[in-house]
């Protein structure tokens, strides 16, 4: 059975901590919102975007989802605002705006 990580938090009694700290399941980090770290935010200009996808492999945070060879909007729940994608875009379609 997959671990229900909502039951594991800083107030959990010892009985709820999984033996050996093992986690059954995958990708549970999605529940942790690193987007709160951001001090600047990428903004996509859909008109300028040619769907070349060069912004997608350079993201350290897997925050540019791609479906059927087209990128979707940023995952701002997790994007840390590093700005690498903006610089990698050959068409100036991504700009970084100050703040969250």
């Amino acid at each position: 059975m997959a671990t229900d990580i909502s039951k594991i938090h800083e107030k959990s009694p010892w009985q709820d901590i999984t033996p050996g700290n093992q986690i059954y399941g995958a990708g549970t980090s999605k529940d942790f919102m690193t987007g709160e770290w951001r001090t600047q935010t990428p903004v996509l200009d859909a008109e300028k975007c040619t769907q070349c996808l060069l912004c997608t492999p350079v993201c350290p945070d897997s925050c540019i989802p791609v479906k059927d060879m087209k990128r979707e909007d940023f995952d701002l729940e997790h994007c840390k605002g590093c700005g690498i994608c903006a610089k990698a875009c050959p068409f100036g379609a991504i700009s970084m705006r100050e703040g969250q």
């Binding site: 671990t3 990580i5 594991i8 999984t18 700290n21 986690i23 399941g25 995958a26 990708g27 549970t28 980090s29 999605k30 529940d31 942790f32 919102m33 690193t34 770290w37 951001r38 996808l53 060069l54 997608t56 492999p57 350079v58 993201c59 350290p60 945070d61 897997s62 925050c63 989802p65 791609v66 479906k67 059927d68 060879m69 995952d75 729940e77 997790h78 994007c79 840390k80 605002g81 590093c82 700005g83 690498i84 903006a86 610089k87 990698a88 970084m96």
Partner: protein, 313 residues
């Protein structure tokens, strides 16, 4: 293995195998490397990911949050090679006994600390025994997790917290260890050196070769660290490009002892171009330190010539 043509957009459409929500710094090169390697796994193939202690480990599996979509094991700092040797051997036995049916691939990640230094013995053992696994070093040239101490992968003259630049010090005194050559000397089937260039074709193809070549394979991926190298965080792709164009970080591979240069710059850029954007080399640009830059250039040239010789044999 038949080399597939690289379809960039199709590759980018594959399901993500490293989930967001890990705690690596904004702009980290480590997870860019991880994502690129994992994209080379064929869909339907399962994997067990190993990891040496380091930034990647403490950030990607902070209890109870795992960023890995595949099974994952971290054991300790110096033993990623041995740990995955055990996993891979277990797979062979359980498969032989008919207890499991699925195809699994085994990939372990370590920083240069866990790979060049404290984990070198364990890595050497795993390579020599030729386990069917891939060891990926994401090389950022220092112990970043503990706060930017020098490693044997740190380039000469870099300013680190254990080789600080001062009135009596120009930074690290020694040249970096050439780990790719050391691993190639283990007579393993595949060694590849790469970094982040363009649409990641070079890295993708090397990762695919490493994963789908039977036996112990090794990838050395330069993965810049904005904190440790002190460049503008969003500049990572430019830094990687300059590393390749100056021949500081050549792209090459070694298949069963046969060395191949994968890219030769049309015009080799001076090493200053790679060093200048990085705060860790700032002191080299002070008046009176020209000889240090010259020495650095000589070392790059010497290694490049050695590589050209290996690739011409």
């Amino acid at each position: 293995m038949e080399r597939k043509t690289y379809n960039f957009k199709e590759t980018m459409s594959k399901p993500e195998r490293l989930a967001p929500g890990h705690r690596m710094c904004a702009g980290c090169g480590g997870t860019i490397a991880v994502r690129a390697v994992l994209r080379a796994l064929h869909e339907g193939d399962k994997a067990v990911i190993g990891n040496a202690t380091g930034c990647l480990e403490v950030s990607s599996f902070m209890y109870p949050y795992t960023a890995w979509e595949d099974s994952y094991i971290h054991n300790a700092f110096e033993n990623a090679g041995a740990t995955l040797s055990g996993v891979e051997t277990a797979y062979n036995v359980l498969k032989k006994k008919g207890k499991i049916n699925d195809t699994y691939k085994f990939i372990t990640f370590g920083g240069d600390g866990g790979t060049y230094d404290i984990g070198l013995q364990s890595l050497s053992g795993a390579m020599e025994r030729n386990h069917d696994l891939v060891y990926v070093c994401y090389d950022n040239g220092a112990y970043m997790n503990t706060g930017i101490q020098r490693s044997s992968a740190t380039p000469m003259y870099a300013d680190t917290t254990t080789t600080p630049v001062g009135s009596a010090s120009d930074g690290k005194l020694q040249n970096r260890k050439d780990l790719a050559s050391i691993i190639a000397s283990h007579d393993v089937p595949y060694v590849g050196q790469s970094t982040f260039i363009g649409n990641f074709k070079d890295l993708h193809q090397k990762a695919e070769k490493a994963i789908y070549t039977e036996g112990a394979c090794f990838l050395n991926i330069m993965a810049p660290c904005p904190r440790g190298w002190r460049y503008e965080t969003d500049d990572i792709m430019n830094i990687c490009k300059l590393a390749v164009e100056t021949c500081y970080w050549p792209l090459f591979e070694v298949e069963h002892g046969k060395w191949t240069l994968n890219y030769e710059p049309k015009k080799k850029l001076p090493i200053e171009d790679f060093l200048r954007p990085q705060g860790r080399f700032k002191h080299l640009f002070k008046p009176g330190n020209e000889h240090l830059l010259e020495q650095f250039q000589q070392e790059v040239d010497r290694r490049w010539e050695d590589l050209m010789f290996m690739c011409s044999r």
